[in-house]
């Protein structure tokens, strides 16, 4: 186990910031996911922690010791990559024990550790094979075994499931998390897949454009995203973000519907907005479709997701562009509502819905930040 501390750690390539100065403490035994789209700086951050990339500024500490200028091999960490990096000419057994033999470890101890790790990963039957004869999932198990067998103080994983088929990914995700729970080694896990980050992370560091957008538990980033980027990036689909104008306790939504702001939010909206523009945010499951619903919409499409139906609605055709969060033309014009499977809807039907007051969030379009409710003592 190890505690990793980043103090104002930054990386610049020429004029371009790969990572702007960031602070982060990863606790003993914690599983932290670095999440963001490609190019956001998450892998660079991981490589700086590992020692594979030099920092441009800031300091890195492992268990209080300044390792900023130590080499990768001096940091007692194990790296697991997306690509399996196994030696093709060696058997699975040789691949796994290789790092121990090169450390000069005693044979009895190597044997003991090998037995333990192959049992945990259920790869006993593969020991005599060569990597070329293994499936993707098994290769990644072997790669994991080779890292685990060293018993490093911490693991750094760079999209280890990225190269696997979807069908293996779900199972391997659970397996890695169970290994973590069993071993409790501090783990930093890089992914662009928000489902993986949510499922695995004790905490998630959401990054975009070289900047940390939010650090929080899965519940925090899901229910209380710090800004529009996080709101949209977390969730599948992301949070619905509907622009409108606030006046006297109601938001006049684009499209003509009026939404009454819950009492508990009124003071916040009245005092913290920079104008009358506001964005109402809500997740698909916050919508309650009913004939009395205050928000009116037209059904654009409805589809089965297995256990539920997702309704895609248009707030009367007026909902257009959200500026910063709308990187592709049109992608945010549709609002998604989660509904029971039993209800059948036809395209073009009029839909009315309300929002569960405790699940509604508000954002200031000028700052893109979430409004924060003041908690009265």
């Amino acid at each position: 186990m190890a505690e990793i501390q980043l103090k104002q750690v930054a990386k610049r390539f020429g004029e371009a910031w790969a990572v702007k100065p960031m602070d982060l403490t990863i606790h003993h035994g914690e599983f932290v996911a670095l999440l963001g789209p490609s190019g956001c700086g998450k892998t660079t951050t991981l490589r700086m922690i590992s020692g594979l990339e030099a920092v441009t500024g800031g300091r890195i500490y492992i268990d209080g010791k300044d390792v900023t200028w130590l080499s990768a091999s001096q940091r007692d960490i194990a790296f697991v990559f997306q690509f399996f990096a196994l030696y093709p000419q060696m058997t699975v057994r040789q691949n796994i024990v290789f790092p121990l033999e090169s450390q000069g470890m005693k044979r009895a101890e190597i044997k003991r550790r090998l037995a333990e790790v192959v049992k945990m990963l259920r790869i006993e039957h593969l020991l005599g094979r060569r990597p070329g004869a293994l499936s993707g999932g098994d290769k990644q198990r072997v790669a994991l075994a080779r890292s685990l067998v060293r018993r490093p103080a911490c693991f750094l994983m760079d999209e280890p499931l990225g190269a696997l088929d979807a069908e293996f990914r779900e199972a391997m995700r659970a397996e890695i998390k169970r290994l973590h729970l069993a071993q409790n080694a501090t783990t930093v896990y890089v992914t662009h897949d928000q489902v993986e980050a949510m499922a695995m992370g004790d905490r998630i560091v959401v990054m975009s454009a070289a900047v940390v957008q939010q650090v929080g538990t899965p519940a925090q980033v899901y229910h209380n995203p710090a800004n529009l980027f996080v709101a949209n990036f977390i969730g599948s689909p992301g949070m619905n973000l509907v622009p409108g104008k606030y006046a006297d306790g109601v938001v006049h939504l684009h499209g003509g519907s009026t939404y009454s702001v819950p009492e508990t939010w009124k003071p916040t909206l009245a005092t913290t907005l920079h104008g009358d523009d506001v964005i109402v945010g809500f997740r698909p499951e916050a919508a309650r479709v009913s004939n009395q619903g205050a928000v009116r919409a037209t059904l654009y499409g409805a589809d089965l997701h297995g256990s539920y139906t997702m309704l895609h609605v248009n707030l009367n055709g007026e909902l257009r562009g959200l500026g910063a969060v709308s990187s592709e033309a049109g992608e945010d014009e549709i609002v998604h509502l989660r509904a029971r499977r039993e209800v059948v809807h036809t395209m073009g039907a009029q839909i009315q819905f309300d929002l569960a007051p405790e699940l509604v969030r508000f954002f200031d379009p000028t700052t893109e930040a979430a409004l924060v409710r003041e908690v009265r003592a």
Binding site: P37, D165, A166, E167, E170, A171, R173, A174, K177, R178, L181, D193, Q194, V195, M198, A199, M200, P218, A219, Y222, H223, N232, F233, I234, G235, S236, P237, G238, R283, P284, E285, Y300, G301, D303, L304, H305, G306, S307, M310, H312, S327, E328, A329, G330, E331, I334, R338, M347
Partner: protein, 358 residues
């Protein structure tokens, strides 16, 4: 548009049988999704319909008329690929107009302009018409590719994983848009994918293909609620269905290696035809943690996904995954009680993997 019929299509490449007696039909205005893993034969099927691959046996019919002797051009179907295959130096307008200017068609420029403008409006790329395609984002490029298929007004669309190269958010958005477009235009579309969520959400009907053979054809509800085999059951649904080894002991159904027992009379369908050994299928959303649930197990893992959490429960030697609403605070090692929705159990042969019909 047309309706397409495949009659016992077989295709061999050397010793490998890529398609083995594939039959199905795509009805007029239907969105039919061919779903299967890599190597199942999906793309070969598309190519056989388009006339790009000649089958060793079987027939392809458009509107009940054989097109086996027709060249690809005469079949008049439009392909949309995973790769965009646009002309990078041409504007979006010229890319869209290109198929209409081909020697086969040579429409007057006024008609071309009308069709290109209409198509661009439909796909919401009207503001991009003068841009060079190299300057577009991935989503915009795929819209142009789709536009180039639509502008021709073909007899049918063949789409080969058109969304696979896009990032997750964009894929979601385009999926909804494509389904909307297909429904509003009433176009006959055969859509190939390995992604179960695309199949479930977009299809009127799904054909599941594995090792060159059709395993099941049905509506998304059929496929999800009544999978014909364990293969289909595992292919659709995320999180995956629980497939548990079970056996009959008199009137009791027992989960192998655990204390979990169900009385035969309490389960859906009838347990009557069940052999001694079988596989019990339970979808994660049909496992409901409940403080007074009649079953118990130990939590080994909780995965909070946001709208719901996956709770892995160890029951004897087997692990059952349950979907719970919200972000669960169950911790590893805690005991939890749960119920199983008995009306929605699935039974499969232990060896054959085939569903026992109720």
């Amino acid at each position: 548009m047309s309706h397409i019929t495949l009659q016992s299509i077989t295709k061999r490449f050397g010793a490998v049988t890529a398609l083995n007696g594939v039959s199905f039909d795509v009805q007029d205005a239907e969105l039919f999704v061919l779903l299967g893993p890599t190597g199942a034969g999906k793309t070969t099927t598309l190519r056989a319909i388009a006339g790009l691959t000649k089958p060793d046996a079987g027939s392809v019919l458009f509107d009940d008329e054989s097109v086996d002797a027709f060249s690809p051009a005469d079949r008049d179907v439009a392909f949309v690929f995973q790769q965009y295959s646009l002309y990078p130096t041409m504007s979006v307008y010229d890319n869209l107009a290109f198929p209409l200017r081909s020697p086969m068609r040579r429409l007057p420029e006024a008609e071309i302009k009308k069709r290109v403008t209409d198509t661009a409006e439909t796909l919401r790329i009207a503001h991009l018409l003068q841009r060079k395609t190299a300057k577009l984002s991935g989503g915009e490029m795929q819209r142009v590719s789709i536009g180039r298929a639509i502008v021709r007004r073909p007899r049918a669309y063949l789409m080969d994983e058109p969304l696979s190269n896009l990032d997750a958010k964009l894929r979601e958005a385009l999926r909804v848009e494509l389904a909307h477009l297909q429904r509003s235009q009433g176009s006959t579309t055969l859509f190939v994918t390995h992604d179960q969520i695309e199949a479930l959400t977009m299809a009127d009907r799904i054909g599941v293909l594995n090792h060159g053979q059709i395993v099941q054809i049905g509506t998304p509800e059929d496929i999800y609620d009544r999978p014909a085999t364990t293969f289909v059951a595992q292919l659709v649904g995320s999180p995956k269905i629980n497939l548990l080894d079970a056996r009959c002991d008199g009137d009791t159904l027992c989960l192998t290696g655990s204390d979990l027992r169900l009385h035969r009379s309490t389960v859906s369908g009838n347990g009557e035809n069940l052999p001694e050994q079988f596989i019990l299928g339970v979808r994660p959303e049909d496992v409901w943690p409940h403080p007074e649930g009649i079953f118990a197990g130990d939590v080994v893992l909780t995965e909070p996904l946001g709208v719901e959490s996956l709770v892995h429960i160890q029951v004897g030697e087997q692990t059952i995954v349950s979907t719970m609403p919200g972000i669960s605070d169950l911790k590893r090692g805690e005991q939890t009680r749960f119920n199983i929705v008995r009306e929605r159990l699935h039974f499969f042969g232990a060896v054959s993997g085939e569903r026992f019909q109720a």
